[in-house]
Symmetry: C2
Subunit: 136 residues, 2 copies
Amino acid sequence: MNTIHKSIQSSGGRLTKIKKAITDILSQSCCLLTKQELVNQLKAIHIKPNRSTIFRELGFLTKHNVIIKNTIVGIDYYEIPKGHHHHLVCMGCKSISKVEFGNHLEKQEQQIAKENKFKILNHSLEFYGYCHKCQV
Amino acid sequence: MNTIHKSIQSSGGRLTKIKKAITDILSQSCCLLTKQELVNQLKAIHIKPNRSTIFRELGFLTKHNVIIKNTIVGIDYYEIPKGHHHHLVCMGCKSISKVEFGNHLEKQEQQIAKENKFKILNHSLEFYGYCHKCQV
DNA sequence: ATATTTGCAAACGTTTTGCATAGTG
DNA sequence: CACTATGCAAAACGTTTGCAAATAT
């Protein structure tokens, strides 16, 4: 049983076929998935949950921080919160990939926190443009 | 007639009371506004448009880049695209303010573009935490 | 055995659409 | 005058809810 499965259980959830499948698919994906893409991948392995079940599962997993919901240019994406990374958003094919970034923002973060008397806990950074395939 | 009013007209839109009011309110706001906050501010100056009119106006203005729609932690905010800035998102009072940032990300941007063969045109950066008032 | 999860159908709220009238350029 | 904008009512859409049966621990 992996870390994600454990965190589902410690949130009071049960390790059902659907929860397992959703988190496995998201874990193995290199990019962020929409609800629809997720449902399609579930279908591919012959899991066809009811609409309301999908809403409830995604709600549960998001609420307990097992997965993260991220709205980018108006579309909701889901991903596993793994490591610190940012996103490359392709305005051509609309795919969103993850990119490692390290701690390059730390200094600016401290300065901004000081100037604005704002306690910064976290940040998100998205780069918009065109992926290799979509550059002509 | 200001720049925003001109850009409405050059998009084929007419300078109606509602369009003027929406863009004026957003221009003068130091923070990002939700649709509801916008509607409330319109009410305050005795403009009470129909629901569908609000949707249509925000749609028009967003489509023609007169205003920007930004979804942050699940809530849609509207703002005027003015200068390059980022956002401080207070997890306490849920207010979102703008913060100037300069070009500090340029080097990292170039590196990421190179490593991922990704043509970066733009980026967005949000800092999450607690504003001065909400820090206890 | 008990509490959670699921599917189904109905309810709900938001967003969109068609059309007639009003308003802008 | 031509074309956009508006309000209204109806339709469409996504999401949520109540309940009974199925499933996990």
